[in-house]
Symmetry: none
Subunit: 226 residues, 4 copies
DNA sequence: CATGAATGAGAGTTCATTCAT
DNA sequence: GATGAATGAACTCTCATTCAT
């Protein structure tokens, strides 16, 4: 969501340079203010939930009037989009962090998958956010490019698992199938956990996740995916 | 939702019978009209999604004024509740039907699970409906009794699978864990399929489901659940 | 509100008489049922207050459907009218009762006024009822005859006081003025008491009433009203 | 309701001053528009009465859409509160004005009480407004602070009478009792007058008020309150 | 007499969004 | 860039009343 890192401003004082510097300053200010709006949006969203999140309330918390938000985002949907983008960045960071300490492919699989699962288990609101784009499970209206970007970042968070599976000897097709199934399983467990359905069965999502992961590892180590 | 089927009494012409017949006719008419409202609600819901479903639109499609709906349902929430109730009945019917042709426990497991999966795969709107109770994934306000009833009917649809697993030798705890994991997996696959995420991975939810089922059967036949 | 006492039914068996008897029975039944509706209305009104009193709720408590009430009363207003009529009958009864034990005119004045004051002090809902006809203090739509009847019954309740004042030597004009002022004072005290305004002054409506009555008696005994 | 009067600053042309001027202009415009809404509300209220006063109608007369009113007042109740607030200010102004020409305590008592009485006699709609807080004579839901404020302003209008009574020699308790009784009498007379009940007795509220005031003055000069 | 069904008008309130300033 | 004002459409729900049966 944040702008591309800018090349460091040189210490020139020519008119043009000055002009550039001012533009830069402006852009940075704009960024900061946009971030402020996003912070407010996140806080509203996480506290009150999707349904009760309103432009008015976001503006209030950001210290703006509702109209002002439209300088930063063209619609409510785009604010959600930006929020989701941020969320996916955090997810990827988390996953990358977990991978650092993992050496073997098996460890990387476990670490990556666990980080993914835990991210949403610990931050259920980020799951809500993820589900927002498809209201009632149906796709929503964002710009196609943004949609592609978001989907890509989601995939990115799962790529390390796929790589690990392939490193363990699965061919690409099998690895893709397993990683997709893993994702589905995680989503299912999270949804059920979040909606209290898992309690209904007297189960713990964490234990079920562990069990699934153990099966997966066994399959991968055995070299067979199906 | 529908009233108990009454044994037909036609051959009598005594005043009492006439009275009963009229009552019965009325009740039937009432049922028909309630069903009409429900049909309208379902069509709105399935076409426009939850968010855009309004009492006004339901009434319009049912050929009523908004106020009239309140003779049939005390609130919008209750309409959803009734819709979901219906949906769960259809689900259970489907599952029971599939079981009839299944002899061995393994066949019953496969048949029950497949019927469950297919029901929602073929009718994705019923999945939306199922998610209704937890808007933004958080529980919603129905009467507790109705909520319990709906949850029970959901469990009912999964009970045959649990029974089959136990018949195959798993103890109750293991069977419960496996059935819960199965449910989660199905939900995950369906959600991903419904939201197009599964296409993103170039996978087919049906194949992934088959694979999961195969693993599960192997585990169950091997007698180990975790 | 109740129908005029009917002349006792004679023990005749002629067709005509039979006819009359049946009519009478019907009328009585109708009366009973109307009373039932009125009871329900009173209970709703006294429990929920004017604003929350609805035809639906009255019907519910009377064991009827809303439409049925229109067999007994042509409108909601008329139900209130009937209720107010009843209330005024009770007021008059109370006043008459108090007068029985009073011998001298002074005693009669004190007894009548106190009974009037206490009736409304003890039953503040009857005061609400009295105020209903003039919503926001402006006249309401009942039939003129009913309005006249109700006003007359209200005056009736004050007539004993007027008579007592005249018996104490005041001429009619003075007596009327004093009784009107007495009525106004009572109404003022009751309204203030009922709305909590009298608490605001740290006063008790009963003591203030006693004081006013004492002044009035002194004036009347002194023979001068202004 | 209106903002504190600001001392005009015009002669300056510095940026800060300009800024202040613009703010001031805006605030004044806002005040004017709020007053416009209040005017509309008053006109609806006075013409149609409380029950038939709706946000829609107020908006219509003010030349706004219903939603716009919510920029000025957070709820219908608050509009009534503001209306009542205004009314009480007018009452106090009237009373203060009347006192200016009064020298002796007795004159002050007469002037204050008469001003109070006349204000509501001449503007019966303000009486309706005063009764609003207790619909069906029962207290209503405003913010407690506003409620306290309004009650205080009502008392303020009666304080001069109380002070006069004490200046005439009554101790505080007696003065309070007399002023409360006076208030009650006025309210009673006004209600009766407004509802046409006083006509029923062939009396004039003004004469009755004069008579009451005369009695009160005599009592106060005689130094006895009960 | 009573019902059950339905009407139609209306209530207060909320909301994303627009736009002149 | 930001404001304050306003829009206009939408929302769920309530009500007194009517009327065929």
């Amino acid at each position: 969501m944040s702008r591309m890192p800018l090349t460091e401003k040189k210490a020139t004082t020519s008119p043009i340079s000055t002009h550039t510097q001012r533009d830069e300053r402006r852009r940075k200010l704009a960024d900061v203010r946009q971030e402020l709006v996003l912070d407010a949006a996140r806080s509203v969203f996480f506290e009150l939930g999707m349904e009760k999140t309103s432009i008015r309330e976001i503006a209030r918390r950001a210290g703006y009037t509702p109209g002002a938000l439209y300088s930063y985002f063209p619609s409510k949907e785009h604010i959600y989009g930006a929020l989701l983008g941020e969320s996916l960045e955090r997810l990827n960071t988390q996953v990358q962090l977990a991978l650092e300490a993992a050496a073997s492919p098996a460890e990387r699989l476990r670490a990556g998958a666990s980080a993914f699962f835990d991210f949403y288990r610990v931050n259920p609101h980020d799951l809500d956010l993820g589900f927002y784009l498809f209201q009632g499970m149906a796709p929503r209206g964002l710009t196609p490019e943004l949609d592609v970007h978001l989907n890509t970042r989601l995939r990115d968070a799962l790529l390390p698992c796929q790589a690990a599976l392939q490193a363990m000897g699965l061919d690409e097709a099998r690895a893709t199938a397993e990683v997709t199934a893993l994702f589905a399983h995680i989503v299912g467990l999270l949804v059920m956990s979040h909606t209290g359905r898992i309690r209904m069965f007297g189960q713990s999502s964490q234990e079920l996740f562990s069990a699934y992961l153990a099966h997966l590892l066994k399959r991968a180590q055995g070299g067979k995916s199906a």
